[in-house]
């Protein structure tokens, strides 16, 4: 049962790579032929279009795909119908990719040898052959080079797909899986996510570029496709419960990227004294028909999608409910898995009641404590870096990553499992927790814990007092000095206290992972 590849898996992967290849072929065609106009830049001043999507190519691609689509339902008519369909579709991919690459090279050659073409303006002004990305996204890109790159990627993906189609077992090497499993752990996942987040914010100009983003998409596609050859990975990812969370990761990443890109462009435009992108858009549209039509189309599409989803991936019914037996692992609905992960580190009252209320209150309070008047009505990072970083860290790292961790990496007995690890209910993880009092009295001072609770918990109480009483004034005098001058004492104090509360979550998690620290203060009925 736990086979890495089965014929169905191979077939599925073949189609997966066919789509990946089609995506890259389309990208190649886009870079080679499309009139690429950067956001906000007007078309004036650019040379007239010198490149056209060849008519025969569009005919061929549409025709081949159409023939493939027709063949699929009638595959019982001719033997090997599916093979024919797959061949037609991959032929279309290859044709598109190769033609686009060749044409791009040809254009470059003509451009280079003659300088100008008949329908191109003379003079050194930018032509559509030099694609200048939007302001802030770097210099002109070499269209020839990138259409060639994407066409090569498309061909490679198609080759992988064909390998799978003809039952070539191409699987992720064992040692890679073992290495990933070995390296994976709550700490690495969390710290890795934090570092990745920091990198994305720091190098946002790089990430905002379309080429880099598409490259990342390609890598992700490849990594996901290869991971799917692992039985355990597949089992978790393809579970009907978890499929939406895979989609959620894609959606969150996509929307975060779009927002980041716009913010980067806007920041560059503001620096160059240009109006922001949002100022270029008409600020009013009609309810009817613009909004209503959009909503109607969305409604229909969504209904269709939900129906297909419900039919294809039926919701699993689990064992009958029992008071004395819970499924192992017992998981909350996916949107609560972040909370459930918090519950591992805190007393139920804190993680289940106090923190969620604080999160909601804190989110409600943002408009009142935010003294920065900039950045309303347009995407920006430079104008409000603090708000951007804090919010996205809270949302992406402290919520989405925890959901992902809880969904994919928490197995039986709530143990942590690597992405390619078998969910073994008897996995032994030595996790002997200790309280802070143990650490201080027993390990550091080498004596028995005092029996009197207040004295026993004195270190924890002192730490808490320091964290909540001493840190805020210190922070207000140092890091938040400017903010305090702008926003006043009440606001800055509220902000600092809320921030400390937010930071308490990752701090406690890291303490648990590194020191096996259970509770800072452990008084019956009151644990922190």
């Amino acid at each position: 049962m736990h086979q890495d590849v089965t014929p169905e898996v191979l077939a599925g992967l073949a189609w997966y790579y066919l789509l990946a290849s089609a995506l890259n072929a389309a990208a190649s065609g886009y870079v080679a032929y499309h009139e690429m106009v950067a956001e906000g830049a007007s078309r004036e001043g650019l040379a007239p279009r010198t490149r056209r999507f060849p008519e025969w190519l569009s005919l061929a691609v549409v025709g081949l795909y159409g023939a493939a689509l027709v063949t699929v339902p009638f595959r019982w008519l001719l033997p090997g119908g599916l093979t024919v369909a797959y061949g037609l579709a991959s032929l279309a991919n290859g044709l598109l990719a190769l033609t686009a690459g060749a044409d791009a090279a040809h254009f470059a050659e003509v451009h280079g040898s003659s300088g100008t073409q008949a329908d191109e303006t003379a003079g050194g002004g930018p032509s559509l052959d030099d694609h200048v990305p939007a302001v802030g996204l770097g210099g002109p890109i070499n269209r020839t080079l990138w259409s060639l790159v994407w066409s090569v990627v498309a061909v490679v993906f198609q080759a992988i797909g064909l390998t799978y189609f003809f039952k070539g077992p191409l699987i992720l090497p064992r040692f890679v899986r073992a290495g990933v499993d070995y390296a994976a752990g709550p700490t690495t996942v969390f710290l890795g996510a934090t570092l990745l987040f920091a990198a994305v914010v720091a190098f946002r100009r790089v990430f905002a570029g379309g080429l880099v983003a598409f490259g990342i998409v390609d890598l992700a596609l490849l990594a996901f496709g290869l991971s799917l050859t692992d039985a355990d990975f597949r089992e978790i990812v393809a579970k009907p419960d978890n499929v939406p969370i895979v989609g959620l990761i894609v959606l969150v990443a996509g929307f975060t990227w779009f927002a980041l890109r716009r913010a980067v462009i806007n920041d560059a435009r503001r620096e160059a004294d240009l109006p922001v992108l949002e100022a270029l858009e008409p600020d009013k549209v009609l309810t009817w028909p613009d909004l209503v039509y959009t909503e109607l189309i969305c409604m229909v599409a969504l209904t269709l999608f939900l129906i297909v989803w419900a039919v294809v991936l039926p919701a699993p019914l689990e064992q009958p409910a029992k008071a004395t037996e819970a499924p192992n692992p017992s998981k909350a609905p996916w949107y609560f898995l972040g909370l459930q992960e918090m519950l591992v580190y805190f007393d139920p009252w804190l993680a289940g009641v106090a923190f969620p209320s604080l999160i909601i209150l804190g989110l409600c309070a943002i408009p009142y404590i935010d003294a920065n008047k900039e950045g309303s009505g347009y995407y920006t990072i430079a104008a409000r870096p603090f708000a951007y970083v804090v919010f996205l860290f809270g949302f992406l790292v402290l919520w989405i990553v925890l959901i992902v961790l809880g969904t994919f990496l928490r197995g039986p007995n709530w143990n942590f499992f690597g992405p390619y690890e078998r969910w073994e209910p008897h996995k032994v993880v030595p996790l002997n927790n200790v309280d802070l009092s143990d650490l201080v009295w027993v390990r550091a001072l080498g004596r028995a814990k005092p029996s009197w609770a207040l004295l026993r918990e004195a270190p924890g109480l002192a730490l808490l007092a320091f964290y909540l009483l001493a840190l805020p004034p210190v922070l207000l005098r140092t890091v938040f000095q400017d903010y305090r001058a702008r926003a006043g004492l009440t606001r800055s104090l509220t902000t600092v206290v809320l921030l400390l509360m937010m930071a308490a979550l990752p701090l406690k998690m890291i303490l648990r992972w590194t020191l096996n620290l259970k509770y800072v203060i452990a008084i019956p009925g009151f644990n922190i």
Binding site: T324, E325, P329, Q340, L343, G352, N413, P524
Partner: protein
């Protein structure tokens, strides 16, 4: 002349004016002439105008079957009447007074029957009085308003206002009050000077309109009236409501005292102490009773048997016994407990609890779920919390 103007003219106090005055010839020639941009009346004004005594309505003159030669130009205008106007017109038309026959039927805008609103039709059908639709327009040449000959229901005798109970009676009284006003208005001499002037009547002044509202005293509904109005069926309604409420409350209260107590007995015999090997964790009673029977050596080296509750002290999930690791492990957030129930990993704040345990007269072990013992409260030294073997 726009429909609105016509309506305004018709509804204003000088109701008979526009259609009543002009000679047939003049009317025929002048009436269809468009008279400038339509005046816009606010809805308030329209309503006020409609409510005003002069409810005779000329503008949407309905066409009888033989009037197909009426200028078609006017018919779309009728169709364009707003619902409010139609309603007002319908209400006015049903006001129990004969509608003046049109002076020039050929000039009268032909309203297609299809263009009649449902309300109009209803009003017409109910017709205590002449609805405009049913008015027989037989006198094309008559310059004066002529009461239409309509089969009118014999006037009902209404009880005095103060003693009315039926809402229909009240409505009828209101209608009649309005009709009386109409008659007064129609009796007033017409003052129109020319057809053209009549065609473009001045917008009714607000004061006029307001002044002709039915007086409040005419529809007086004083407290006594209201009280009488609330007669037996209101009482019955409230009584039924109260009864339903009482019944529901009774059912709710009854629900709190079930016939059978589903609570299982709290004590259970679990066999002889010799049934349990040293080091055993018996899961036999987990499903039904919610405890494990554990035979173990305690801190002081005694061989004891105790009953551990199967509820995690974190949030109450049932942990599972892992014989390989000799520990209880919770599937919800990963709390781990040693065989003696002590928590050592995960978020659970304290050890599992023990149930009261003892020996029955027949030598069997009895577990009593009515009492629990917590280690963190030093209750495990209680002799009831374990059974020395």
């Amino acid at each position: 002349m726009s429909v609105q103007e016509k309506l305004a003219a018709a509804r204003s106090g000088n109701s008979a004016k526009p259609a009543g005055e002009p000679s047939p010839a003049v009317a025929a020639s002048t009436a269809p002439a468009p008279a400038g941009p339509p005046k816009t009346m606010s809805v308030k004004e329209k309503l006020a105008a409609a409510r005003a005594g002069g409810t005779t309505k000329h503008a949407p003159k309905p066409a009888t079957a033989d009037q197909t030669d009426a200028p078609p130009a006017a018919s779309p205008a009728v169709g364009a009447m707003s619902v409010t106007e139609k309603l007002a017109a319908a209400r006015a038309g049903g006001a129990g007074r004969p509608a003046p026959a049109p002076a020039a039927t050929s000039a009268a805008p032909a309203a297609k029957p299809g263009g009649m609103s449902v309300k109009q039709k209803l009003a017409a059908a109910r017709g205590v009085a002449t609805a405009p639709e049913t008015a027989t327009v037989e006198t094309a040449s008559s310059p004066t308003p002529v009461p239409a000959q309509v089969p009118t229901a014999a006037p009902r005798v209404l009880p005095p206002l103060a003693e009315m109970t039926d809402p229909r009676d009240l409505a009828e009284a209101l209608r009649r009050a309005g009709a009386k006003k109409d008659q007064e208005a129609a009796a007033r001499p017409a003052v129109a000077t020319s057809a053209a002037a009549a065609a473009v009547p001045a917008r009714p002044r607000r004061e006029d309109v307001l002044g002709e509202r039915p007086d409040r005293s005419q529809v007086r509904v004083d407290r006594r009236g209201l009280f009488v109005y609330a007669t037996w069926w209101v009482v019955v309604g409230w009584l039924a409501f109260a009864a339903a409420l009482a019944l529901l409350s009774a059912m709710m209260i009854r629900y709190l005292f079930p016939n059978a107590d589903a609570e299982p007995p709290s004590t259970v015999k679990v066999g002889l102490p010799t049934d349990y090997e040293p080091g055993d964790v018996s899961e036999r009673f987990k499903d039904q009773w919610g405890f494990w029977i554990v035979r173990n050596v305690d801190d002081r080296g005694r061989d004891v048997i105790y009953a551990l509750q199967t509820y995690c002290t974190h949030l109450g999930c049932p942990p599972s016994w892992l014989p390989g690791e000799q520990k209880f492990k919770c599937p919800c957030h990963g709390s781990g407990f040693y065989k003696d129930g002590a928590n050592f990993e995960g978020p659970a704040p304290r050890p599992l609890e023990r149930y009261k345990i003892g020996l029955a007269d027949d030598g069997q072990i009895v577990v009593d779920k009515g009492q629990t013992f917590r280690k963190d409260l030093d209750q495990w030294s209680d002799p009831d919390s374990f059974l020395a073997v």
